[in-house]
Every structure is written in C-alpha cells, then in structure tokens.
C-alpha cells in the first residue's frame, strides 16, 4: 500500500513540482518546519522533503521538490493517481512559533515552499509577516500569490531584475533591517549560500535568525547521524534537534562540505537512471 498522489502541478516545468499526497496521519500531525522522508519504489533511496503545507481535513500534505538527482527525477515520472511507496513523518522539530511582532521570512528557490509553511504559521499566530522571496527571474518565483494571502508584504528580488529588486534577497533584507520597523525574527530557508548570507546581514542587527538546514539524511529519526552539523561548537542532528537552528551558530562551511559527500555516487545514480530508464513500474 502506497501513498496516493492526489494532485501534481509543475510549478516550473521540468524543474520544480508540487505534489499533494494522501497521508491523513501525517496531515494530522504535521506542523510548520516538519519534513517527511519518502522512498519512491522498492530500490529507492530515502529522501527528506519539507512539508510545504497540510490539510488535516482532507488528510493531505503538500511537498515541493526541485528535480536534481535520481530520486526526484523518478518522483517526477509519477502522475496524479500514482502511489509513492513510502512516506514517513512528520519528522524534525516544528518551528518555534509565538506571538512576537514582525517576522521576516526569506526564501530562495525551492526553499520558498518550506518557508511558506513557516510564514503561514507565524501569520496564524498573529505575527506580522513580511516575505522576501528571490529567484533568477520572475517566472521562477514560487508561492507568491499564496504568500500574499497572509503576509503583510511580499518583497521580491530577481537576479535579472525582471521583477522587484534586481539583485539578492539579502539586499532587500538589509533595507528592511535598516528601516525603522522593529523586526523580532528573521527566518531563512533556501540554498546554503543564501542562508549563510542572510546570517551575515542580520548579525550586526542582533536579530534572532533561524535557518532550516537541508543536511543529507538516511533514516531521519535520529539513528544514523548523517545529518550532523556543528551548532555553537557542538554536534547536533538536523533530523531530531533541527532542522531549524540559530543561524548565527551554524558552521556553514562544514555543512557545505558535508552536502558534497556523495556527489560522485549521485552522478552515477543519475546516469544509471538516464541509461536504464525508470524501473519503478517494473
């Protein structure tokens, strides 16, 4: 028995996809910041993906993924009505959300999907949420209409200047921090260099900065230690202690090195997939 895909939507064709999956138990329990681990088929790898949204009434969760390696390429061959073999969760600690004033949520690339759930949680807790989202160009901006439903403001940065600020999200963030507004917390989800840059920008302002780490994981339940990272000089596990940590304390250089651990095998795996085609349907 697998987990049925109720809806598939290509957010950016061939690149980023949204799936709504039938998983009532997980939908009941999932909170912003949680993730799931899925396995597409019998020979597949366990891969962590953030819960981008949930609908407890309909018993569904939403995930958004970027097609980068073999597993996401295979996942992308599935369609509405197909089943994913294993979906396990919700995993990780939920985002710490309390009423605190204004929260700036920064999202980059596919990370905007994960950030969206966190931003929604903050809005529901009564916080004023300012979203700052960035991408290479305007067509690649995810979740902007959803964010505008509950965010006080949605600020945009694009590399090519096709919309909003031409440049990086960090430059927009810098402007917000320099403004008069009192910002209680900054949340950043996206590529590691982006999260690292956000922390650099917020540091002089001494604003609480939370990042969501996308470490390599195997079981996701605190058994293997693959996701370990150094936070405040101590070894922590992203799957059970995180995935969110105080960004000012994270050793980003180490995180980047660890993300490259299996790059050769990942290449082999993807080549194997392209040569042999998808095996998931026998």
């Amino acid at each position: 028995m697998g987990y049925k895909i109720l809806k598939k939507q290509e957010l950016i064709p061939g690149q980023t996809t949204l799936l709504v999956i039938d998983a009532p138990q997980i939908a009941q329990k999932a909170r912003p910041g949680n993730f799931i681990i899925l396995r597409v088929h019998e020979n597949g790898e366990r891969v962590p993906l953030t819960v981008a949204d949930r609908d407890p009434e309909n018993g569904t969760i939403t995930i958004v993924y970027l097609v980068v390696g073999k597993t996401t390429a295979e996942l992308n061959t599935l369609n509405q009505g197909d089943e994913i073999l294993d979906v396990c969760g919700p995993l990780g600690k939920a985002t710490h959300i309390e009423k605190c004033g204004t929260v700036v949520c920064v999202g980059g690339g596919t990370g905007i999907a994960a950030m969206h759930h966190i931003a929604k949680g903050h809005a529901q807790a009564g916080n004023r949420v300012v979203a700052v989202i960035g991408a290479r160009s305007r067509d690649l901006l995810l979740f902007r209409s959803e964010l505008s439903e509950f965010c006080a403001e949605v600020r945009i940065a694009t590399d090519d200047g096709s919309e909003g600020h031409k440049g990086f999200v960090t430059e927009v963030l810098q402007g917000l921090l320099e403004g008069e507004e009192d910002i209680a917390e900054v949340v950043a989800v996206g590529p590691v260099p982006m999260m690292e840059a956000v922390c650099r920008v917020t540091k002089p302002f001494e604003v609480k900065t939370t990042v969501s780490l996308n470490s390599i994981m195997v079981d996701g339940i605190g058994m293997c230690g693959a996701c370990r990272c150094t936070v405040n000089g101590e070894t922590r596990f992203a799957c059970v202690d995180g995935p969110e940590f105080d960004g000012q304390q994270v050793d980003f250089a180490e995180l980047k090195a660890r993300l490259w651990q299996f790059k050769d095998q990942e290449k082999t795996s993807l080549e194997h997939f392209h040569h042999k085609g998808c095996k998931c349907h026998g």
């Binding site: 138990q25 396990c88 059970v240 082999t268 795996s269």
Partner: protein, 474 residues
Amino acid sequence: MARKTMTPRTPMPHQPADERVGNFNEVALGYTPEDARREAERCLQCKKPLCREGCPVEIDIRGFIARVAEDDVPGAYEVIRKYNSLPAVCGRVCPQENQCEGRCILGKKGESVAIGRLERYVADAFAASDACEEITGKRECVMLRDDLKVACIGAGPASLTVAGYLASRGIGVTVYEALHEAGGVLVYGIPEFRLPKAIVARELDGLRELGVDIVCNWVGGKTITIQDLLDEGYDAIFIGVGAGLPRFMSIPGENLVGVFSANEYLTRVNLGRGYDFPNHDTPVFKAEHVAVIGAGNVAMDAARTALRMGAEKVSIVYRRSEDEMPARREEIEHAVEEGVRLRCLCGPLSFNGDDKGRMESITVQKMCLGEPDESGRCRPVSVEGETETIPCDMAIIAVGTRPNPILLEATPELGLNDWGYVQVDPETGETSLRNVFAGGDIVTGSATVISAMGAGRRAAREIARRLLGDEAAD
C-alpha cells in the same frame, strides 16, 4: 560407546575467507542433518539443565536437542517456538558462548554443545520442510480475544518477541515501525553475510501468519503518540524503539567528510542495499583505507562490510588490547581471517582533514593497560608523548549509542533513569505509566538481540497475565 565428554564439537562449515570477502553471502553455512544429529547426541540431557538458565528467553534447550537427536525437526521446532519467535535469527547472532553454551556442563572439561548452531539448524531445516505450513499455518492464528489489543512501537527484536508471545495467546497486536522495513537492528544493522534478510523476512512472515499486524513508516512520538494509542483503546503498549542516536567522541574533526557512525554506514549498506548500488539507489561512501573505532560486534560488522565494499585496508582501532574486545570471539576471528587488522592500544585524539573538509588521517594516542576498572576490564592509560597519525580516508565510529529522543520528548511523563533511558520495573518491564511497558536498548542502552528479546518476553508475560489471567502466562 565413547565417553560423550571426549567427542569434539562438530565444526561449522564456512565459506572460505578469501572468497567471502568478495561477496555478501552468508559466512557460516549451517549444519547438515548428519552434523546436527552428531552434535545433538553429545548433549548429556542433564536432569537440571544449566543451559536453559543461561537463555534470556528460557528455551527448553534439552527438549529441543533431544528431538534433533531423533531427527524430529518439526518436534524440535515446536519446542523452540514456544519460547522464541525468532529462532533462525537467534541461532545466528546470539552470544551463545556467554549464555546457554557458557553454562553447558560439557564446557567445564571440554567443548560445550553447539546449542546456537543446533537452533539455527532446526529453524532452517524446519522452514525447508513440508511440516512448516502445518505448524505455522493459520490453524493456531485464531484471534481468541478480538476485544484485546496491544500496540508495540518499533519492530525490532524486543517488540517482535512481545508480538509473537501475545499473538500466540490470541491477543491482537499491531507493531508500528518508523522505517520502511520491519526488523530493527536485524535489517539495518546486522549485515547480510551474518544474517541474511531473507531469514528475517521468513520470521516476520511467521508472525504475520499468527495475525500480527506490522505497520511501517509510522514514527512513535511523531506519527502516533502513546496518548493516541491509549485513546484508541489499546489495552497495553510496549515501547521497543531501540537505543538510537549514535555516540560520537567529541574530538576534533568528527564531522569531516569521510567520518561516519557505524549506524549510518551499516544502514546505507544493509537497509538501503547499498552493496547493490547503483541497482539500489542508496549511495555508500567509497574509501581505500578505513579505520573503525571501537571493538564491539557492530565494529566488526562495519569493518567486514567495508572490506566487502572494496576497501583495501581496514583497521579496528581500539584503546584496550585484543583480550578486552567486547565483540564475540568468533566475530573477531572471522574479521581477522578476512584481513581486518587490529590496532590495539590506540585511542583516537583527532580526525584530520584537508582544506575541502575531507578526512585524511587519524591521530591516535598510544595506550597501555592499567588496573582493572569497575567493568572488570583493564583501564587504558595514555603513554605520555606517544602519538601516531594513521592515514585513512574513511573512519567509522562504533562506540555505542545514546537514547533516541523522539518518543521520549513526545512523552514527557515517561520516567527516565539517570542515563536518560526509560525506567522500568525489572520484573515486569512496566514503565512509570500504567500498562505501558518498555524493553530492549531503550531501557538498557545498546545490548544484544537476545537480551532485548528476554525483556520482550518478560513484558509480554506480564501483559498476558493482566489481560488473560495467570494461567495464560508461562
């Protein structure tokens, strides 16, 4: 007739070391019927068998061996199964030399009866026989009491023992497993060459046939909490979630690329079938020179796995001497036969990396042995000023585990002991919460499969007593 004490123990046929190091097939090949009969005949059938006292699940060892001597495999199997839901597993991975065989009277003057090998023989020969269906078939699987249900969290040896015990007494059991496959350490930890996954699958099928419901991808404390289970009307809950979190050493460089926990390395290879990459997708880090830190069974498994994954040189780095190694003697011997080097009296000081964050060597402190400590083993003492740097591109840390926090954090009312493990009544396995029991590594810290099964049996017996009355529990 020759005096029985003089007959030597029947040797176990093995796959030759130089061959097996190139494959993941089982190392020990198992007894033939003749081997088994010959070995069973060595048993003195003691009036007061000490072997049984040494067995955490109290198998009627004398009884099953008597049947093996008569070539009655189904009879022997029936005896074992009364006490043990996982005989094919226990026959392979139990530290028999410290348990049943350690108490065998023959061992006092000669060699003890090979009880573990006989248990394995019975389980395997029975599975291969026609009688299998008859005994494990649906016949015994009637749910006598469909109003009673028990939940087990975690599908490792402790929970599976609880499930088998209660199901065979007519109680409905649901086992919730967080991973995608049931078996716990039997599938993610112990390698194929020591315990083939097909064997574990067979034992699981046996439990399913008894009516046990095994649900995967459900995380205790996340997908479902203790309170949820109580609200759903479970009459009792057994927590068997294992020890979890790998221990690291808090020395410089432990998070460098190339440094792994034994759990990660073994999970990738075993559960993820990384040995069959890229036909299976889970990648395994490849290295030429591997250092395994620690000398327990897990360390031996990791070292032997690394050799099979193509490493040229694999060393066990251990701060005491070979005599103090906690692994089973047989596992150490197998590892050495296959080419694993033992670097004893070396305590790791740091992992050293290159500018890309990849490990390239380990610096160790030379040790010597001092006075025995509270564990009875000689304490390792640093030899001042003597260090050595060992070049290696992968290190596997196998120095134990800490309690996994997931279920414990979700159940703050659960009483814990000073070490952070679940506190239980030693007689019954009951936790601080009424009708919530626990056993295995989450109670004791990392131990053996069979000790977890013993804990499962104690808890199951108490659960049966409460739900069905004193007669049901034996």
